[in-house]
Each structure stands twice: as structure tokens, then as C-alpha cells.
């Protein structure tokens, strides 16, 4: 890994002093390719019927743990070769598509999919790009990219299970990536997906480790373990600090009551498996006064909506007691 960083720092030096070295953008591009470390896997990040929230969530990444990327910059600079990401990439149009097609041709990349795949209107509810004048549907792109990927990671509940686009009457016949492709997929569900969970999966793939999955193809280590890796109750309610049975916390009868159990207000914690507790928008597990103390929904008296589950959002009211 150190050689990756050294090479990339060298490249950064060249980039910063490009004028002095007489390098233009094209020259720098060639240099970057020459310096690309074979150990840095190519990652292709596709967005379909999504809200971009999982990408935004990835940008919220922060870590102070040794050996982990500390921010999204470190992910891109030191961990992976993120050749295609529509929200972030500098290039556009056919040049952007060319990066994708080049990766596709080489094969063996990690395919990350954000968003569901709509099948209605012959797939035309979502066009991924145009190539040589032809509009290519997201459905086609996912199928083609999945066929040549080393690993497929569905980021967020839409890509994993269909999510909100597939709710109700499912007006666009949206499906998750596994349903579409029939291939093995690692589902990192959540609406949005937690950035630590996404990067955890990438790190495991970098290390060549096998990821144990639950019956919904989610990593057991992410949805049923503590942050130190030891096992924990899978059900959120069973580890909730507001669990009345375990901690004697009163049950809230209406909103605005601070610190109470939210089960009567529609909390789906008893039916949700995740390690959400103090894991959002900060350093997972850090609590005040630690810097970047993390947060979670229940911490602000908001019921869990079960957004990591296959059943999310489902037809039932979020405001009535939930029975699965």
C-alpha cells in the first residue's frame, strides 16, 4: 500500500508543479496512467433510479482509525481508482462514457451501483448515457457492467432491494441489482447507506477477504456486529439504549418527549437489523465530547424507519405501531 501512496504523492507533486515541468492536462493524464498502481482496484460507480443521497453520504466519510481512509479524498487518492462517478468526475459526455467503457473492456473491476433499476418503458425511465448518438438505458448498463465485474456492490436500499422507487404501485417497475442480474451481489442497504459501511466493504475487497453475508446478501459484520467486530444483537431494539425492558425507559406517547422509547410512535427498531447506533455524521461510535461525535435517528427522538430493510418503505404508515 505504501508504494501506492508514494506514487500518488509523486504524481501530486508533478501535478502541482505541472507548469514548471512543462506538463499539460493530457501529459498529466498519461503520467497518471503510467503511475497507476496495479494494486489499486478500478471502481465503477453507477447511479440509476436514485436520489444521489448515497454518494452524498459517502462524502460525509470521516475516520480516525489507522489503516482506514480518513475521508473521501483518501478513498480516491489511496484506496481505489474511481474511474467513473457521475457526481464527482471532472470529465463529461462521451469522454466520461469512454472511461466507463475502457474499464468495462478490461473487466475485473468493482461495480458499485447506487439506485434501483427501472424496467418500465423498455428501461427508458432511466437513461445512463448516450454513446455515438444512441441512448443507453441504465438497465442495459448495469447488465453489461455486472457481466464483467469482479465484485458487485449495491449501495443503498434502492440498489439492494428496489427501495422507494419500487414502493406502492411501483410506477417504473423498479428492481434491485441482484433481481435484475441474478448475480452474487454484496448489499450495503440503508437510505442512505452509511459511508463507513461502504468503505468497510471496499477495504475487505482490497484485502481479498471473503465477506460473510446474511440471507439478504448483506455483510453480517456490518448489520449484526459491534464496531470492534465482536458480535452484537442483530435487532436494533435489542441493543437500543431506550429499550424499556432492558433499561426501564418510559414509552413515549407522543412526539416531543425527550429520551423515551419510540415504539408506539412507529419505531421499526424491533424489526430492523443494523449497527446504526451513534454511527452517522461523525466518527462511528464517538460520543461527546469526542471530536466528530456521531449521531443517529433515535438519538433525536425520531423513530427508526427501518431503512436498511428489504421491506422499506412498505405500504404501512410510519406513524402507527409497526408489526412487521
Amino acid at each position: 500500500m505504501s508504494s501506492v501512496i508514494t506514487r500518488r504523492r509523486f504524481f501530486r507533486y508533478c501535478q502541482l508543479t505541472a507548469a514548471a515541468l512543462g506538463l499539460d492536462a493530457a501529459g498529466l493524464g498519461l503520467l497518471r496512467k503510467a503511475l497507476a498502481n496495479p494494486n489499486a482496484p478500478t471502481v465503477v460507480w453507477l447511479q440509476g433510479s436514485s436520489c444521489t443521497g448515497c454518494s452524498i453520504s459517502l462524502l460525509n466519510l470521516i475516520s480516525d482509525r489507522i489503516g482506514e481512509p480518513a475521508s473521501v479524498e483518501a478513498v480516491a487518492a489511496e484506496a481505489v481508482n474511481l474511474v467513473f462517478h457521475p457526481t464527482l468526475m471532472a470529465t463529461a459526455g462521451e469522454d466520461a462514457v469512454a472511461s466507463l467503457l475502457e474499464a468495462q473492456k478490461a473487466g475485473g473491476y468493482v461495480l458499485v451501483v447506487e439506485g434501483a433499476v427501472p424496467l418500465a418503458f423498455g428501461g427508458r425511465a432511466c437513461i445512463a448515457y448516450s454513446w455515438r448518438g444512441r441512448e443507453v438505458t441504465f438497465q442495459e448498463v448495469v447488465q453489461e457492467c455486472a457481466a464483467r465485474a469482479a465484485k458487485i456492490v449495491s449501495v443503498g436500499t434502492c440498489a439492494a432491494f428496489g427501495g422507494i422507487p419500487a414502493a406502492g404501485a411501483n410506477p417504473t417497475q423498479a428492481v434491485g441489482v441482484q433481481t435484475l442480474t441474478g448475480r452474487p451481489v454484496i448489499n450495503v442497504s440503508g437510505c442512505p447507506a452509511n459511508p463507513d459501511w461502504v468503505v468497510w466493504v471496499i477495504v475487505q475487497l482490497l484485502l481479498g477477504k471473503t465477506i460473510q453475508l446474511d440471507e439478504n446478501s448483506r455483510p453480517i459484520a456490518l448489520y449484526a456486529a459491534k464496531f470492534d467486530g465482536s458480535s452484537a444483537p442483530a435487532i436494533l431494539h435489542d441493543k437500543c439504549p431506550r429499550n424499556p425492558g432492558l433499561h426501564g425507559v418510559p414509552i413515549a406517547r407522543q412526539f416531543g418527549e425527550d429520551g423515551h422509547c419510540l415504539e408506539q410512535l412507529g419505531c421499526r427498531g424491533p424489526f430492523t437489523r443494523a449497527r446504526c447506533e451513534a454511527a452517522w455524521n461523525g466518527i462511528a461510535g464517538a460520543v461527546p465530547p469526542q471530536p466528530h461525535a456521531a449521531h443517529w435517528c433515535i438519538g433525536v427522538n425520531a423513530p427508526c424507519h427501518g431503512c436498511v430493510e428489504k421491506e422499506f418503505p412498505g405500504p404501512k404508515s410510519f406513524y402507527e405501531p409497526y408489526s412487521g
Binding site: 500518488r8 504524481f11 501535478q15 502541482l16 507548469a19 492536462a25 493524464g29 497518471r32 440509476g48 433510479s49 436514485s50 436520489c51 444521489t52 443521497g53 452524498i56 462524502l59 460525509n60 466519510l61 475521508s71 479524498e73 480516491a76 467513473f84 457521475p86 457526481t87 464527482l88 471532472a90 470529465t91 463529461a92 459526455g93 466520461a96 462514457v97 427501472p118 418503458f121 427508458r124 445512463a128 448516450s130 448518438g133 441512448e135 427501495g163 422507494i164 406502492g168 410506477p171 437510505c191 442512505p192 407522543q254 416531543g256 425527550d258 452517522w280 455524521n281 461527546p288 461525535a293 449521531h295 443517529w296 435517528c297 433525536v300 427522538n301 425520531a302 418503505p313 405500504p315 410510519f318
Partner: protein
């Protein structure tokens, strides 16, 4: 001279799926855009997904329309639900609710504006970071000396942290961002403590410093080096704002960003009459029977393929006229911005608005009642209708709700991107972005970065609103793939 066509698909560094086609011709010795078509390429049908649900669920579901402005949708939906449920009164709970909503919504504004300038726009002017996905990029020219470019790159790195911190700040009361569950009909779930307030303040003061000392100067620098963009990308010059950030608990509260519109031929902001808003669908993939309806009675019946339609976006018009919305519209309607309408004016107004809002957030934080529940009990009526208007970071946002038998009978969402990126309307008038592209000089047809600069200046969010725009038959120079059934 030959007419060339460039299609940018995907337009990257936006939210969602957008394709823009431009026709380029040499006129009076300058190669420039002579026609433009903006095409939103995603349809999710949120309005359909919401039908027959518990109306209170609208907040949770519509937040997921957009990962960049989730709290704006949450805000529009709690406003519409408060109204339909009759939530009102001047109570401590209402004050706490109003301020907590404003603070978390405000945090998302700061996040979005910083994201927009550094992540989405800056790579149009200077290469951001020397790794994929920021390399390779289209040639941005060499106008910035290497020291300046390197300083901007450092600021880009700082912006990565600042954008993230803005979300961390919002999550103190919001629990999580994007997609906070804390906005509820009747109020807000969090009960603020002194410790939370102080932590929020710490983040906010750092952001105020960043906006004032780094973000605004960076925008000014780019605007001065690329000063031709103070004259480019004007478009129609019609500006519209629904208004946002309530300042009191009354039924018609004062707003930090006032409501109004300004026509291109006037210096005065005029009031809005919502009944003048209609959505036109001749060029959109929705049933023609739904053309020119006010959102209160609007329908969303997808029809693809359909005649000349080329977009999943409807074309909202005010009295039949296209309007642009966003920070520049807000700042001009408010009398806070004296410049013109152009690519760089949009960036400047956005940056200045970030500071204005951040300073208002400082006041709201000092007014925030501590240890006070922010919820007013409310129930959904058997039937009712209401409108919830607010502003997303990229412009005017409205949710229209009709309740029957305590369920959602109709939900219509009109987003800022529908206004700004709209396709041609039923009269054939271009959408505001399409119009803004006319006359833009294009140096290299293979990498029309000038077009990208105009597109990014309006901060498109196609997750919120997706239209596809297709040229009229016979005027097309660029052949799209065959539509199914055609």
C-alpha cells in the same frame, strides 16, 4: 458554415440524469451555441408512489426525492401537512419547531452551496485533485497561474471537510443527514440541549469563517479571471422565488428569503399569485390531457413514447412565462444582490447567500429554546388541501397535497429544476437553461466546457425533476436512438 451538434450525456457533476444537446454554428466569426435542448432522463413517479398512503409519510418519502436537498422536501411537506392538520399558534413548541427546522434546513443549504462550488463547478475552471475521478477532465485553459491553482486545490480539500462538517452540524438536531427523520408534521422530534447548541455553534462559526474568508474570495477570484462569464448565460432574466426560512410563528410569517418574482423588463419585485402557475406537458412524457394544469389539480400520468415529447420533466410556467429560480433569484427579489444575471452572478449570489444565511443561523441558535419540546399535537383531517412552499438551495420548491379519507389523494411536487431546466413549453418556448445557452461561444466542439459552465451555474438537480427534451421534428440535426414503438 456547417451546423455542428454536441450532445453532453451524461452531464456530470450534477445530481441525477441530464443530457444537453447544443447546435453550434459560426455566427459573425464566433463559433457559438445557436440552439439547445436539455433532457432529463430519469422518471421515478414519486407522486404515484405517495398515493393512498398516510399523509404524514410524505415527509419521510419526499425527503428521498433528493439526497442534496432532502430537508427542503422535508420542509415543504411539513409545511403542507401543518396546514392541512391546522397546526398553528404562537407557543414555545412552535418557536422551537420553527428554529430547529430552520437550523437543519440551513445546514443543508451550506452543505449544498459548498458542494456546488467546489465539487460540482470548480473543475470547470481548474483541475481539482490529481487523481480519478477528478482526472482526466476537459481542458479548462491555463488562465490561473500555478500558485493560484494550487491554492484553489488546497481550498478544495478544505471544502471536503467543510461540506461534511455542515452535515455533521445539521445531524446534531437532525439525527442523520442526508435523510433526517426529525422533520414531522406538527414540529420537530429533537429537544435541544445546551450542549447540542454549543456544539452546533462551534461548527457554525467555523463555517462562517470558511464562507467569508475562503468561499466568497474564491468565487470572486474565479469571477475576475473568467470575467466574460459575467456577461454570458443570462437567459430570459425572469426570476422567481417562493421564499423560505420563517422568522415568526404567525400564519403569514416574515421570511428571511422573501417571496416574489422579477421580470426581465422590470427592476421591481412583484408578488406571486400561485393560481398563475401551470405545468405544461406537450414536450414531456405525460398524457396531453394533463397539459397546462395548476399543480393543485395536476396529474402525473406517464406516457412514453409520446409524439414530440422529449423529457420526463414538465414545464412549469408563470402566466405562461418561463422563470429561473435559485440563489440569484432569491437575492435579487430580496434586494440583496445588485449585479446582473449571468454565470458568475449566479455563483456570486450563491456564495453571498451562504454567508447571509449562516449569520441568520447564528441568531436562530441564540433564540433557540432549550429543553423544550418542539411538537404540537396534530391529526390528519378526513379531507383537505394545502400548499407548502419553500426554497431548496437551487430554488423554488412547492408541494401540493389533497387528502381524502385521511389518505393522500393527490400529491404534486414542483421542483426548482423543473423551472430552470424545463423543456420547451406548449407554446414552444425554450426552458430557462436552454435559453441561457444561446450565444455561448464554444472553442472546442469535442469538449464544450463553456456549455458545462453555464449548465453548472444553475445547479441542476435532476433527481428532483427529470425531463427529456427532444428537438422538434424536421429541425433535428442530431438523431437520437429510436424510441420504442416508433
Amino acid at each position: 458554415m456547417p451546423v455542428l451538434t454536441a450532445a453532453i450525456d451524461p452531464v456530470t457533476r450534477i445530481e441525477g440524469h441530464l443530457k444537453v444537446e447544443v447546435k453550434v454554428e459560426t455566427v459573425r466569426g464566433v463559433q457559438q451555441v445557436v440552439d439547445a435542448f436539455a433532457t432529463g432522463t430519469l422518471f421515478r413517479g414519486f407522486e404515484k408512489i405517495l398515493e393512498q398512503r398516510d399523509p404524514r409519510d410524505a415527509t419521510i418519502l419526499t425527503s428521498r426525492i433528493c439526497g442534496v436537498c432532502p430537508t427542503s422536501h422535508a420542509m415543504a411537506s411539513v409545511l403542507v401537512l401543518d396546514q392541512v392538520c391546522g397546526v398553528g399558534g404562537d407557543t414555545p413548541a412552535r418557536t422551537a419547531s420553527r428554529l430547529l427546522r430552520n437550523l437543519v434546513h440551513g445546514a443543508c443549504y451550506l452543505e449544498s452551496h459548498i458542494l456546488h462550488f467546489y465539487f460540482l463547478s470548480l473543475p470547470d475552471y481548474v483541475s481539482a485533485l490529481p487523481v480519478a475521478p477528478w482526472l482526466p477532465g476537459w481542458r479548462a485553459g491555463n488562465r490561473l497561474d500555478s500558485a493560484t491553482a494550487s491554492r484553489l486545490r488546497d481550498h478544495f480539500r478544505t471544502a471536503i471537510a467543510m461540506r461534511r462538517n455542515a452535515h455533521e452540524m445539521g445531524a446534531i438536531f437532525g439525527g442523520r443527514l442526508p435523510h433526517t427523520p426529525a422533520f414531522i408534521p406538527g414540529g420537530f422530534t429533537a429537544v435541544a440541549s445546551a450542549e447540542q447548541r454549543d456544539l452546533f455553534s462551534k461548527y457554525l462559526e467555523e463555517l462562517i469563517q470558511f464562507i467569508g474568508n475562503v468561499y466568497i474570495p474564491d468565487v470572486e477570484l474565479v469571477a475576475s479571471v473568467f470575467d466574460e462569464y459575467l456577461l454570458l448565460g443570462r437567459g430570459y432574466g425572469n426570476l422567481l422565488a417562493f421564499g423560505a426560512f420563517e422568522l415568526d410563528n404567525s400564519e403569514s410569517p416574515a421570511l428571511l428569503f422573501r417571496q416574489g418574482r422579477r421580470r426581465n423588463d422590470s427592476d421591481e419585485a412583484e408578488p406571486l399569485d400561485l393560481s398563475q402557475i401551470t405545468e405544461q406537458v406537450r414536450y414531456s412524457w405525460y398524457a396531453d390531457a394533463d397539459d397546462d394544469l395548476n399543480p393543485a389539480v395536476g396529474e402525473t400520468r406517464p406516457e412514453n413514447p409520446k409524439g414530440k415529447a422529449y423529457s420526463w420533466l414538465k414545464a412549469p410556467r408563470y402566466s405562461g412565462v418561463p422563470y429561473e429560480c435559485g440563489p440569484l433569484a432569491r437575492m435579487i427579489v430580496n434586494g440583496d444582490y445588485r449585479g446582473g444575471v449571468s454565470v458568475m452572478d449566479r455563483h456570486r449570489a450563491r456564495a453571498q447567500e451562504a454567508l447571509k444565511l449562516a449569520l441568520a443561523m447564528r441568531d436562530w441558535l441564540s433564540e433557540l429554546p432549550l429543553n423544550t419540546g418542539a411538537y404540537t399535537p396534530c391529526t390528519v383531517p378526513v379531507q383537505g388541501t394545502a400548499v407548502g412552499l419553500t426554497e431548496a438551495p437551487r430554488g423554488a420548491l412547492g408541494h401540493w397535497l389533497a387528502v381524502q379519507e385521511r389518505k393522500i389523494a393527490r400529491y404534486q411536487v414542483v421542483t426548482p429544476t423543473c423551472w430552470t431546466i424545463s423543456p420547451r413549453d406548449s407554446q414552444g418556448q425554450r426552458g430557462p437553461l436552454e435559453e441561457a445557452l444561446i450565444g455561448i461561444p464554444v472553442d472546442n466542439i469535442d469538449q464544450p466546457i463553456e456549455v458545462l459552465r453555464v449548465i453548472h451555474s444553475v445547479d441542476p438537480c435532476l433527481d428532483c425533476a427529470t425531463h427529456v427534451i427532444r428537438a422538434e421534428a424536421g429541425r433535428k440535426v442530431f438523431t437520437l436512438g429510436p424510441m420504442p414503438g416508433k
